[in-house]
């Protein structure tokens, strides 16, 4: 990465002038605190004693035997406080914001996991909190809306555009440009203008830092592959990051294929997108021939995003990571499979990674192992999966 926050040709700071000084201040503050022993001690205390880190690396023995190939390990980010990996980044950014003198956090959310995590950190650290969530997603994830409100946050249902994650980001950016003096935009993924892709990646890299040490301890060797789902790509970059120098470890990102990459109802950016500039960054985006951002679709609100973080775009360009689309149907089957086989109900987002593991495990030798990042828990998705299967749930 060079000075302007580039990953190859991707990244940059394509943002309004009103926000530029704030981004510069954020970068300066981050560069100061990331090496500050006091800050790191405080953050590690929160991660360990509040969020429940380190998360387990669980050997999924039944799944391994059933699939008949590589040993499957699950990195259990679903066991973190608030039920997903999102808390790793949120605690880091909230603490940083507080050090910068901010008293208010705003954030976008898709499935609600990042919104819940942000509302949680705001409650804990005594900060005001406002969440932007596409109206469509407030319906799909109604329980999470109430959860955020319980935590003291105000939830704004965004009614513009496709009323999903990208529109929530639009409105969070608009709100931030309206009020920067006391407000930090706690961006939830490895996207947006520099320095966000780097800050979020660093805070999420704890996943691979732990996983790498855990697998070496359990297996005495590195995994053959690390598999994670990718929307903006925060859990995936977190799961990949410390394995990037280990060239023999395959890195596989699973995009939301929706109803199939040959249909318009998909959110698979690497499979169907092209180079563009949006939400502060140069990267790949689903868009039409005039550069209008496409109305993407996935059963998973958290992966329902028309772009991908710039570092993933770069890992794709260099071939260091591979990105594959997983359809709704494959993800739902994997959601059910992991529930029945291991007694773990994964987030529908994470089920995309599970689906890829199910597909490829048998291609590996029994001496190999694969790490699948279970980025979140699936309680929030139970109603949606029931609907998908045509089951009528009564409250």
């Amino acid at each position: 990465m060079n000075e302007k926050g580039r990953f190859g040709i991707h990244g940059g700071q394509y943002i309004s002038e009103t926000l530029m000084n704030e981004l510069i201040k954020l970068e300066e503050a981050y560069n100061h605190y990331k090496n500050d022993p006091g800050f790191n001690a405080e953050l590690n205390k929160l991660l360990n004693e509040y969020a429940g880190r380190p998360s387990l690396l669980y050997y999924a023995e039944k799944m391994t035997k059933d699939l008949g190939g590589a040993k499957i390990y699950l990195k259990r980010e679903d066991l973190n406080h608030t039920g997903s990996h999102k808390i790793n980044n949120v605690l880091g950014q909230a603490l940083l914001a507080k050090k910068m003198g901010k008293t208010r956090l705003i954030a976008e959310t898709g499935a609600g996991q990042h919104g819940v995590a942000t509302a949680t950190a705001a409650a804990l650290l005594g900060m005001e909190c406002e969440i932007f969530m596409g109206k469509e997603d407030t319906i799909r994830q109604a329980l999470n809306v109430y959860r955020m409100e319980l935590l003291g946050a105000k939830v704004n249902a965004v009614t513009t555009g496709t009323m999903t994650l990208k529109d929530a980001v639009n409105d969070a950016m608009r709100e931030w440009s309206n009020r920067v003096s006391d407000t930090h935009y706690c961006l939830g993924s490895v996207m947006g203008p520099h320095p966000f892709p780097t800050i979020v990646r660093d805070f999420q890299s704890v996943i691979s830092k732990e996983a790498r040490a855990q697998i070496l301890e359990k297996e005495g060797k590195l995994p053959a592959a690390v598999i994670a789902c990718v929307g903006g790509g925060s859990n995936a970059i977190g799961a990949f990051y410390n394995f990037i120098p280990d060239k023999e470890v395959e890195l596989i990102g699973c995009e939301a294929g929706g109803r199939g990459v040959d249909t318009p109802e998909t959110a698979a950016t690497i499979a169907t997108g092209s180079l563009g500039i949006f939400h502060g960054m140069k990267s790949y985006f689903c868009q039409d021939k005039y550069g209008q951002i496409a109305p993407v679709y996935s059963i998973s609100a958290g992966l329902d995003y028309p772009g991908i973080g710039p570092e993933h775009a770069y890992l794709h360009d260099t071939g260091r990571a591979k990105y594959v689309p997983i359809t709704d149907e494959e993800a739902v089957c994997a959601f059910e499979y992991l529930s029945k086989t291991e007694g773990i109900i994964p987030a529908i987002e994470s089920a995309h990674a599970v689906a890829q593991a199910i597909k490829v495990a048998k291609n590996y030798s029994k001496d190999d192992c694969i790490i699948v990042n279970i980025s979140g828990r699936g309680d929030k998705d139970v109603a949606a999966i029931a609907r998908y299967r045509g089951v009528d749930l009564h409250d």
Partner: protein, 265 residues
């Protein structure tokens, strides 16, 4: 030091009191024929420069009024090529200075060179891109300038020490954003505009026009008195939203009142 491209933008500020009234509308709202008609009417009413918005699916710097104009325009099938066609028809009847206002992606995706070559051919003099700040403007400015198109620089209430660099590299005019947040009508503009303009004047004589939040003749006169011109978008788009295809006479009356206010300073 600031470069001066030889296009029509300077003409906009070259009138009796050296103050410009700049109007904005979204191309294709409600349709292409109306946009051609509206631009000509805005010219007749006294606009010194017209900003033509190329609609974008996700206009993150816009308030609700212009967001909805973008949605209406795209919903009616407007495209970047459709906007070029609108300009072509305008140019048959008017040589008013024109700038595009849009976002980075439609221009990037069209191809910088192809986009600005069309601009040059049709006589579009400048482009305003709110998601291209000073740090990123090089990739667009190179091809734009090669085709004699100015990339308009923006200065905002939070720019502070950045003003020097931005103003030094500015070309055409400097778009001074009056307020925090997004475009849209505001009752009151509290920013220290005079301070910002003074800061800019220390490094360049490139004209400064104030935009965001201006809707009344009083505000326009006030802003023009503190700078070289006033830019109005949402208030114009609101008239188009209200009267649709029949907006031309209402636009004429409104813009005439605004131009008179700016000219009276």
């Amino acid at each position: 030091m600031s470069k001066k491209l030889n296009n029509k933008i300077s003409k906009a500020f070259d009138n009796t009191n050296k103050k410009a009234f700049i109007g904005f509308l979204t191309a294709g709202d409600p349709d292409a024929d109306s946009t051609v008609n509206f631009i000509l009417e805005m010219d007749r009413a006294g606009c010194d420069l017209i900003e033509i918005g190329i609609p974008f699916s996700d206009p993150t710097a816009e308030g609700v009024v212009i967001q909805e104009a973008n949605i209406r325009s795209l919903g009616n099938g407007m495209t970047t090529d459709g906007v070029f066609d609108i300009v072509k028809r305008v140019r048959e009847k008017s040589d008013i200075p024109l700038c595009f206002m849009t976002y980075a992606n439609p221009v990037f995706h069209y191809g910088y060179d192809e986009f600005f070559s069309k601009c040059e051919e049709l006589g579009v003099d400048g482009i305003i891109v709110p998601d291209i700040p000073f740090e990123e403007k090089e990739e667009m400015e190179g091809p734009a300038n090669a085709h004699n198109v100015s990339v308009i620089s923006m200065v905002s209430p939070t720019s502070e020490a950045r003003i020097k660099n931005i103003a030094e590299g500015a070309d055409g005019f400097i778009y001074v954003v009056s307020s925090m947040g997004v475009t849209g009508v505001r009752n009151e503009i509290k920013t220290d505009i005079e301070g910002i303009v003074k800061h800019i004047r220390e490094v360049t004589d490139t004209p400064c026009a104030i935009g965001f939040g201006i809707s009344t003749p009083e505000q326009a006169a006030d802003m023009a008195s503190k700078s070289d011109g006033a830019i109005v978008g949402s208030a114009i788009v609101r008239i188009i939203e209200k009267y649709g295809k029949d907006a031309a006479p209402y636009l004429y009356d409104y813009i005439k009142s605004m131009k008179d206010a700016v000219a009276s300073v």
